[in-house]
Amino acid sequence: MPNLSLTQNHEDPRGPKPRKILSRRNIILYGTLIFVAIYYLIPLYVMIVTSLKGMPEIRLGNIFSPPIEVTFEPWVKAWAQACTGLNCDGLSRGFWNSVKITIPSVFVSIAIASINGYALANWRFKGANLFFTILIFGAFIPYQIMIYPLVILLRDLGLYTKLPGLILIHTIFGMPILTLLFRNYFTTIPEELFKAARVDGAGFWGIYFRVMMPMSLPIFAVAIVLQVTGIWNDFLFGVIYTKPANYPMTVQLNNIVNSVQGVKEYNVNMAATLLTGLVPLAIYFISGKLFVRGIAAGAVKG
């Protein structure tokens, strides 16, 4: 008789419920995901493959076939030799311009916006709400409206076509969204912490640098990702507020790809495009995890 009860126990449901791996649900779920992933990755694949081919191979017209003879010549040419107008030193010039634009713009805009956000969230000064409303309003005004007035402003300041002028523009346009981001993050930090710091004798800057900032690394990461990608990928402001010698990488890329003279060097164009996209891509991969954490912070308590 004990034997019988044992078998019965064995058949009773116990522990985790067994699941089939090849169930209908899984096939549909993973099938869709894989299909969509391939769909999105095909253009990237074509770009990489094309950039590694020589022109004779491209002329055969098989864009999906892998290169028979792998060559890095187009990459070298895109970086160092491609011509835009009279300059034939490739994308490298634009790359360094972009670096010179992006680093100060990111740094200055985040520094100012985080202090703005901190002041708005924690120090309820007179007119704070009005100031905040104006900032938010700024986030909804189309850029195009402000382009011409800003040209005149920069001209009068003597900064038109110069890099500092463009840096100023990027800082201004980053302000509404970044301030909003920082303000919302700082409001999620318990108010008692701020009060405790005041009782402990820390002032405006003391609290900012020694209490708030060390607690806000995720949101700083988010701001850096947003700003680096945004400013690096910017084309419009770059083409309007600078001159050819100061063109950022994106503008130069356009000039290389869209040049109407001579042979269309598809492999060089692909390589140049990939080179330009490398920086935001790298930033994303490095900080992807922090990015998600920062965006989601405050959404759930704890």
Binding site: L193, K195, A196, V199, G201, A202, P214
Partner: protein, 364 residues
């Protein structure tokens, strides 16, 4: 000498009046508890004293100095918050020394004070840990330590034990009391927990709608509440309140609505003013003051009741029943066995009761 003096303090948030014309004097070394339900303005008052909120009108003096316009750090106060509010990226030592560094004290002095505070609070072993690696009780101790190192005259506690579990709360409560006996600082303590208030306070200020209803030592508040609100707020289980009328005969008696076998004689009750006309009133009797069984026979007022619900609480058992249709609770010894529906005799002495006017709800 007075440690804290608050004169005609008012605070409005726009249209909302939070504190009205509030006066309060706290002596040196006194432990004052601000007690009230949430939204009564007790935390707001504490924040005003700390200087974390600008007042609308009135003055605050600490140690004879007018601090109304001073920054929190200049007022000679230390504050402990409900959520501990420890700086998460700093070690315990960093948390303790933060204010001292801001005050630009010498390294030796900082070291000495941190050492001293951590000894008093028994957190020496935790100095190099981050707050995340501490338990709730340890965190709260560090938070107290942060106030302690500042060597201030006045300690402000904003519901410091509310985030802890029940067992820890009672332990830390005693520790706070010991700390007060040792340091002899002035302490102001905000809580909504009446047990904390009763156990800790030299005096309790019961607040409601931005006003202090009663400011007295715990015993007086417990035995002689000035109005029905205070009477109901203090004491657990709450006071029995029976609706009826006082008849001013040669001896004032209380006539219960819905009948009573015997109307209690209130001639021994100390009325503020003699009752001259028939007055609608509440008669309040604490469940602890009701006696049961043989002892009831010696009481001036005795009657029999039917047991409806029995709640054993260990040392005592709370019995629920009805008196002329109105709820009536009383305490019996924990070892007493009572069955539902049983009729029992209980009694009380009207001297230990409280009588409140039906409309104004003030003590008569």
């Amino acid at each position: 000498m007075n440690s804290i003096e608050i004169k005609k303090l008012s605070l409005n948030f726009g249209e909302v009046v939070v504190l009205k014309d509030l006066n309060l004097t706290i002596e040196k070394g006194e432990f004052l508890v601000l007690l009230g339900a949430s939204g009564c303005g007790k935390s707001t008052l504490l924040n005003c004293i700390a200087g974390l909120l600008d007042v609308t009108d009135g003055q605050i003096f600490i140690n004879g100095q007018n601090v109304t316009w001073l920054e929190p750090s200049q007022r000679g106060i230390g504050m402990v918050f409900q959520s501990y509010a420890l700086y998460p990226q700093m070690t315990v030592k960093g948390n303790l020394s933060f204010s001292l560094k801001n005050a630009k004290l010498s390294k030796d002095e900082i070291e000495k004070r941190v050492q001293n505070a951590s000894e008093i609070l028994q957190i020496e072993d935790l100095l190099n840990r981050k707050p995340a690696a501490l338990s709730g009780g340890q965190r709260q101790r560090v938070a107290i330590g942060r106030a302690l190192v500042r060597d201030v005259e006045v300690f402000l506690f904003d519901e410091p034990l509310s985030n802890l579990d029940a067992k820890l709360r009672t332990d830390l409560r005693v520790e706070i009391k010991r700390l007060h006996q040792k340091l002899d600082n002035t302490m102001i303590y905000v809580t909504h927990d009446q047990i904390e208030a009763m156990t800790l306070a030299d005096r309790i200020a019961i607040m409601r709608d931005g006003l202090i209803l009663q400011l007295d030592d715990p015993k007086t508040i417990y035995n002689f509440p000035v109005n029905k609100y205070v009477a109901e707020f203090i004491g657990s289980p709450g006071m029995n309140l029976l609706k009826g009328a006082i008849l001013p005969n040669d001896k004032p008696i209380f006539k219960l609505d819905g009948g009573w076998c015997e109307s209690p004689d209130l001639s021994n009750y100390k009325f503020y003013e003699p009752i001259k006309t028939e007055t609608q009133a509440w008669l309040g009797i604490r469940p602890e003051n009701v006696v049961f069984g043989d002892d009831a026979k010696n009481m001036p007022v005795k009657f029999s009741l039917e047991v409806e619900v029995v709640e054993p609480m260990g040392a005592n058992t709370l019995v629920w029943s009805k008196m002329g249709g109105q709820e009536f609770r009383f305490m019996v010894d924990g070892n007493t066995t009572l069955s539902i529906g049983e009729r029992v005799t209980v009694g009380f002495d009207p001297v230990h009761s409280s009588v409140f006017d039906l409309d104004s709800e003030d003590r008569l």
